[in-house]
């Protein structure tokens, strides 16, 4: 498995890009001398150059520094809520597939209910109630993503359960929970990895869209979506202000999408989702 991973150029390149961006975000304080919030009104709206790598915004703040700190937010959003959504979807999917018809009906009904909402509008309702905090984004992303994850886990679990060794285990009287942990879970791992990788980009896009609409993070906090929102008014005069954070979002999302596709080919060549 590791060998076919290193033979897949796309996978290796996308991992490299993700790691580099993550390192840049983590070590942001060492990469830029500028503070994200410090305003320098004498050097407002500088074009990209040697002093300010990507120029400065309308308050004289360094765009490169803000972009690095904004990337931290995007990556945090990318990883934590998505991981929780995958865990919830996994638990629900397994219960649905393996713990009887009534549980299946209720869980699939719940999944259908959350999937009936346009994700963005559901997130806006959550922001209305809980404000634009990290917790709100966490809840929103879990609500948006768990349903489709649960459906896929359910169908994959159903095919795993068909295997003869699981039927043999059941005949021998092995308890359900033991079968789930020892036999079903290991078989689900490839699917879960692919689902996680493919849901990360949707999380990044959702968060950036909510920030762009101005209903999530509020200044002086930084976020890539908020940076684009703030530079909207100067789009025609200073296009790089909007370009830098948008490009960062795009590169991250693209890298995760390529990685997800490649991982699916490597880990799970037969499944289609």
């Amino acid at each position: 498995m590791a060998k076919s991973f290193f033979h897949n150029k796309v996978a290796v390149i996308s991992v490299a890009i993700i790691v580099i961006i993550a390192l840049m975000a983590i070590f942001a304080p060492f990469l830029t001398p500028y503070d994200v919030a410090r305003q320098d009104l004498l050097s407002r709206l500088k074009a990209p150059g040697t002093e300010h790598l990507l120029g400065t915004d309308e308050l004289g703040r360094d765009v490169f520094a803000r972009m690095l700190y904004g990337t931290r937010v995007s990556l945090l959003i990318a990883v934590i809520p998505t991981a929780l959504a995958v865990v919830l979807g996994m638990i629900m999917g397994i219960i649905s597939a393996y713990y009887g018809k009534i549980a299946d009906m209720i869980i699939m009904w719940l999944a259908d209910v959350t999937l009936a909402f346009p994700g963005m509008l559901l997130a806006m309702a959550i922001m209305y109630t809980f404000g634009g905090s990290f917790i709100s984004v966490l809840i929103s992303i879990i609500m948006m993503e768990w349903g489709s994850i649960a459906r896929i886990v359910r169908s994959v679990t159903m095919t795993i359960v068909e295997n003869e060794y699981i039927q043999a285990a059941r005949t021998m009287g092995v308890r359900k929970i033991v079968i789930v942990v020892k036999h079903i879970l290991p078989n689900l791992v490839p699917t879960l990895i692919v689902l996680f990788t493919l849901n990360v980009p949707s999380s990044i896009l959702s968060e950036s869209a909510l920030s762009f609409l101005g209903i999530r993070i509020q200044p002086p906090d930084v976020s890539l979506g908020l940076m684009v929102n703030q530079s909207k008014a100067l789009l025609f005069q200073k296009p790089w202000l909007a370009l830098a954070p948008s490009a960062m979002i795009m590169i991250l999302v693209l890298a995760f999408n390529y990685l997800g596709d490649a991982l699916r080919d490597i880990l799970d060549p037969k499944t289609k989702y």
């Binding site: 209910v113 209903i215 025609f236 693209l254």
Partner: protein, 304 residues
Amino acid sequence: MSGFLRRCVGVLLVLLGVMALIFIVLRIVPGNPAAVLLNEHVNKETIERLTASMNLDKSIPEQFLLYLSGAIRGDLGQSYYMKQPVLKLVLTAFPYTVKLTVFAAAFAWIFGIGVGVISAIHHDRLPDYLFRGVSLLGVSVPVFMVALFLQYLFYFKLSLLPLGYDGSAASMILPAIALGWNSAGSVARLTRSSLMEQFNEPYLDTARAKGLTARQAILTHGLKNAMVPVITMLALQLSSMLSGAVITESVFSIAGLGKLALTAVQTRDMPLLQGTVLFSAFIISLGNIISDLINSILDPRLRV
């Protein structure tokens, strides 16, 4: 037909869940919306009067039943901020969103299916790599980035198209492309893989034996079968398009549902937000039923 009926009952149950969920999400944090609305300086009686008129003095289950029976009769309540019935505001905004979504879907489907078919026919050769790159780029750019880029290029640099929506057909082009861009990417990816799965099917050999060229057989017979999953996706796309419409409508200032929902959040107008979200979920459920119907026409095996 009983399968279809069962499907409809399922959709009704989902809608009931949708109504319950949005009711809970908007009310889970305690606090009197009437007081928030009027702010603290108003005397107690006014607050009480408004509280009573909004049914906020009743218990939560009672409120839910009132809201449920209202929604069934088409009464989504009164907007706090705009002082008009929510249903009226939603129905005024809806045609704009329909127009935007239809144009966006048309763009996504023509562009997406075209790219997907070319990719599949030339699979694993240069045009395929090129177009697969384009479609992955399609699903990877944020909607607002496409929107701003289009404004920059077509309004500012080329002065070809208007900046915002002004009612003309020309001013709908940029919003439609901005909103359709993501979907075009997903449609292209799915069309490609779905069409390639048809390549080894025996019915294509039959079509070849009857004298069609390989390309004719794929385009006339293969494409029809390959469209089944792509059409199922239409329903899913509807949901993501309504999400994207919030951004597109705000960038191009179109007075549609997304803009209405955004205004509702900004002005803390709970009935308006509730009504808009509910209405969108209803549209999505309707879209699911319609896509089922279209698929059962295309593929007789799906008729239950």
